[in-house]
Amino acid sequence: MEFAELIKTPRVDNVVLHRPFMSRVEGTLCLTGHHLILSSRQDSNEELWLLHSNIDSIEKRFVGTLGTVIIKCKDLRIIQLDIPGMEECLNIASSIEALSTLDSVTLMYPFFYRPMFELIEDGWNTFLPEQSFKQIESLTDEWRLSYVNKDFNVCPSYPPILAVPKSIDDDTIRKVATFRHAGRFPVLSYYHKKNGMVMMRSGQPLTGSNGRRCKEDEQLINATLRAGKRGYIIDTRSINVAQQAKARGGGFELEAHYPQWRRIHKTIERSNILQESLIKLVEACNDQSHNMDRWLSKLEASNWLTNIKEILTTACLAAQCIDREGASVLVHGTEGTDSTLQVTSLAQIILDPTSRTIRGFESLVEREWLQFGTFLGNNSFERGKLKLPQKTVSLWSWVNRPQDTERFLNPLFEANSLVIWPSVSPQSLLLWEGVFLRWNRSSKCLDEAYEEMIHIIEHNKELQSKVSTLHRQLAELETEDVQLETP
């Protein structure tokens, strides 16, 4: 098979592994098509299984013939391998490099992974668009499912089945699609059952510099408004960026053509800026110098939390328009595939109690991100071509097994049907230590405290059932006594 060509040296002995907060391990390094494995061969616990696709970058260094490979992983872990022998080290490094940057999707691990667990439910069928629409259908008859995109002709990056206003026919939709970036015409993202307001998302309108309009587009989004009510368009770009987009054929909805809509511009950075921000943040977190000022200024300069605050604020704004103003909302940026999805999905977490459950969250990811955005393959069309449901296992198949779901449950969770309004002040937004400091500090004490909290909660449940059992026993005894006495 193809992998063999990429693996120049499949095995090296006497390799030393260094990981933060763990003692060094000496053992044999093996490369397989998808994994880097290091085993001490004495104690089965001391093994490292690293997926090549988890590798972000590698560096190599030499002191004499002892080579060192430093591997930076996508989960932000940094590990070091000391490999004796210059040739072995170079071979290993180039193999890892090749294996972690495979061109062909079909060579990736999901196409080779065979689950070691029994498939109870197939995650590929867990969240079907027809099903989630059924719920909306039971609440309103203003929306319908359209199959206009069933061949991915109208919008290649949209799924084949989409929810659109009932009063808008497929021909109109085709025209609207020509007026929206990459054909991403406005579709239903969320229906707020409390007041019947909706959130839609789309690509930017292609007004261009001469202010082109599209009557069908106006017709489509106006169809979502109640009589006499106005709606909000949340543009995730600053007004300047939106203005500049006009020169490239894009643009934004002009007041004159959309008098029933009020446009609000927010500034969510584009994905390349976010990526830079992430790199700076990770770099700041890995700086082990003891200088407080440097840490704070690096944290600030990374802009990571500034971006988080902006995304969250925009999501809150969308939620506020829907829940408090009782208005419908259309969200878009340029393509409608990044910042738009951040806003629409977070707004749903704020508004919709279901999306705060495990299943609901999965469904949200499936609806907002997978069908309309990223992951293995970029959209439904690509994923369809790859035959993913036939050839790979869905993450949901694994996560939704009862024993695994349990691990992901928040022990303090209590269902509530409220809209949750977070604070977005800088003092309230914290660095996500679980992710960004995961490998930089020991979390043993914190984990143990968390375990203790779970224990208290579990103990409470046990005691409650014990007390009710005792009550029942006592009650039974009493009735027996009564029966004995009465005759």
Binding site: R230, R262, I264, Q288, H290, N291, M292, D293, L296, S297, L299, E300, N303, L305, T306, T313, C316, Q320, C321, D323, R324, E325, A327, L412, E414, N416, L418, I420, W421, P422, S423, V424, S425, P426, Q427, S428, L430, L431, L437, N440, R441, C445, L446, E448, A449, E452, M453, I456, N460, L463, Q464, K466, L470, H471, Q473, L474, L477, E478, D481, E485
Partner: protein, 629 residues
């Protein structure tokens, strides 16, 4: 009462600090409190501000809606009133200026506070903490350390306590000689004894060495301390000041120990800044976090330029060095700064907290504060601005200590018996002057004030309320596996203490309190265990007819009444909240969490003004905001 000319003002507006929300109500001025009662809500929420808590009162220039009065409190509450008539505002303002800091101790709240306790209870409260038994617990007196009566009458050092522990080999002439060579007579004495290695943590003030002065008795004194520990051939002298400050002190005839003159000492600076730097730092921090619609960038750069976390880290770094020297090297350490009552108190107490699990219990923290802060003469009266004194003496040194403890509780969530609410309550009362413990600057002064006869001790009150201060995940066994805490002092290990500095800013808090939830689960567990035991006992008497069923109420978790705390006041679960709200037919929301309060909208994009245009009112309110900011 002679200071109060206007005891009541109606139609006062209380403006929210971070949003444009305002509530109307009545302002009352009493001898001890400023009180605001909301008039239009069914619940009539009350805001009580103790006069002694007031740090700054500002009367801002008159606006169309009235005269703004802004009050900054020592417990980090900031209130912004708008009083309709300028005259009333001025009256309140002038009264508060006089009431907030009286000229004499007798006018402090502690002397009029009456919790309706018997004399016996009052005396009991003061007997709760006994330092003599604390020294005994540490393991002194012993072969090498003894109690000295040299300061029985405060003759040698009037800012030290009467009872002091010194090396057995330090004779009275040595002690007296050494004290004459130390600033304010604060000679080296024992602060903590690490029994396992017989190593001592000692404290003193800077030597009066100038450029070349020596004192044989002082040199003997240090040698005696060093010799009292057979584990190490040398002792550390930790000067907690930055080197530059210590050098500057030499010009004034003070300074630091010359290693050439003292045999077997290892001298080290640790660079904690002085009280003035700390005061300015906190002020800057409060300015930054008090900014309306603060951006993330301004927050971080403000946090950095305030230097607050840098200072917290410096204090904790010093404590870690101290604890390592004692527990790992087994060396004795002498700690000092300039006068030995600020930085020295911080480092000695935090060092002991790292070394000794006892100080991580509720009672233990009380003992630690009594010992290193109160008895050794941290100048609480000056530092906390109790009387109308020199503003340059005010400094958040003790606040920093509490914050360092909090930072440790965050790193070791199971090591501490107390939770952050306990630390915040102590902070509250250090400034409230409601209890006698922290009044005055030293023990001698406290005795003169006869505090034990005239006031109450805080500790009894905290103990009575203990269940609120318990850390629900505390693990007493943790101290066995981790007798000495080794915290990380990497910058990312330090966090901004939101619940302290924003304790009164409801919109900043998490909407649900994990602490409260787990505390009430613990309480529920206790009740259930009791109920289960009772039921089991009944079942054991099988055959006996039971006419009364076990009270089914004991099954329900009982939520004890808690003090008014925003940290603990988040709704226990949202169901409660939901019910409450549906009854009063208000918009359903999680408490402390309304979209309006958080202001997600930029000013000009406020949807509210779009759907409900009220241009006159909006512009008027903005006008107020602009003029008062």
């Amino acid at each position: 009462m002679e200071h109060i000319t206007t005891p009541k003002v109606e139609q006062v507006k209380l403006l929210d600090r971070f949003s444009s929300r305002a509530t109307a109500g009545t302002l009352y001025l009493t001898a001890t409190h400023l009180l605001f009662i909301e008039s239009n809500t069914a619940a009539s929420e009350e805001t009580w501000i103790l006069h002694h808590h007031i740090a700054v009162v500002e009367k801002l220039s008159l606006t169309t809606s009235g005269c703004p009065l802004v009050i900054h409190c020592r417990n980090f509450r900031v209130v912004h009133f708008v009083i309709p008539r300028e005259r009333d505002c001025h009256d309140i303002y002038s009264s508060l200026l006089l009431l907030r800091r009286p000229a004499s101790y007798d006018d402090l709240y502690a002397f009029s506070y009456n919790p309706k306790q018997s004399e016996q209870q009052r005396a009991g409260g003061w007997q709760l903490i006994d330092l003599a038994s604390e020294y005994e617990r540490m393991g002194v007196p012993c072969d090498h350390w003894q109690l000295t009566d040299v300061n029985r009458n405060y003759k040698v050092c009037d800012t030290y306590p009467r009872d002091l522990f010194v090396p057995v080999s330090a004779s009275k002439p040595i002690i007296v000689g050494s004290s004459k060579f130390r600033s304010k007579g604060r000679f080296p004495v024992l602060s903590y004894f690490y029994q396992e290695k017989k190593a001592a943590v000692c404290r003193c003030s800077q030597p009066l060495s100038g450029f070349s002065a020596r004192c044989l008795e002082d040199e003997h004194m240090l040698q005696a301390i060093s010799k009292a520990n057979h584990n190490s051939r040398f002792m550390y002298v930790m000067d907690t000041r930055p080197k530059l400050n210590a050098l500057a002190n030499r010009a004034a005839g003070k300074g630091y120990e010359n290693e050439d003159n003292y045999s077997n000492i290892r001298f080290q600076f640790v660079g904690i800044e002085n009280i003035h730097v700390m005061r300015a730092s906190l002020q800057k921090l409060l300015e930054v976090i008090g900014t309306k619609s603060l951006s993330m960038t301004d927050y971080f750069s403000g946090l950095e330029s305030s230097g607050w976390l840098r200072h917290i880290k410096a204090v904790l770094d010093a404590a870690v060095i101290l604890a390592k020297a004692v527990t790992v090297e087994g060396a004795s350490v002498l700690v000092h700064c300039s006068d030995g009552w600020d930085r020295t108190a911080q480092v000695c107490s935090l060092g002991a907290l790292l070394m000794d699990p006892f100080y991580r219990t509720i009672k233990g923290l009380m003992v630690l504060i009594e010992k290193d802060w109160i008895s050794f003469g941290h100048k609480f009266a000056d530092r906390c601005d109790q009387l109308d004194g020199d503003p340059k003496e005010v400094s958040p040194v003790f606040t920093q200590f509490l914050e360092c403890v909090w930072q440790l509780t965050e790193q070791f969530p199971q090591a501490f018996q107390y939770n952050e609410w306990f630390l915040i309550q102590i902070h509250e009362h250090v400034h409230s002057c409601q209890f006698g413990n922290f009044l005055g600057n030293c023990q001698r002064e406290r005795e003169e004030l006869r505090l034990k006869d005239k006031t109450y001790s805080l500790w009894q009150f905290l103990l009575n309320d203990q269940e609120n201060y318990v850390n629900p995940v505390y693990q007493p066994g943790f101290s066995e596996t981790h007798p000495v805490l080794e915290p990380s002092t990497l910058p990312f290990s330090f966090k901004f203490w939101r619940n302290m500095y924003h304790q009164f800013d409801r919109s900043m808090h998490p909407r649900q309190s994990v602490l409260k939830q787990v505390l009430s689960l613990k309480a529920s567990n206790r009740d259930l265990e009791k109920a289960a035991r009772a039921l089991e006992a009944k079942l054991q008497k099988q055959g006996v007819f039971l006419s009364i069923a076990v009270d089914s109420k004991s099954k329900d978790p009982v939520h004890p009444v808690r003090p008014k705390s925003l940290i603990l006041s988040a709704p226990l679960n949202c169901k409660e909240d939901e019910q409450k709200l549906s009854v009063c037919d208000r918009v359903r929301t999680v408490e402390g969490s309304s979209s309006a309060e958080n202001g997600y909208n930029e000013e000009e994009e406020e949807p509210a003004s779009f759907t409900k245009p009220e241009p006159t009112l909006v512009s008027l309110e903005r006008g107020v905001a602009r003029m008062t900011c």
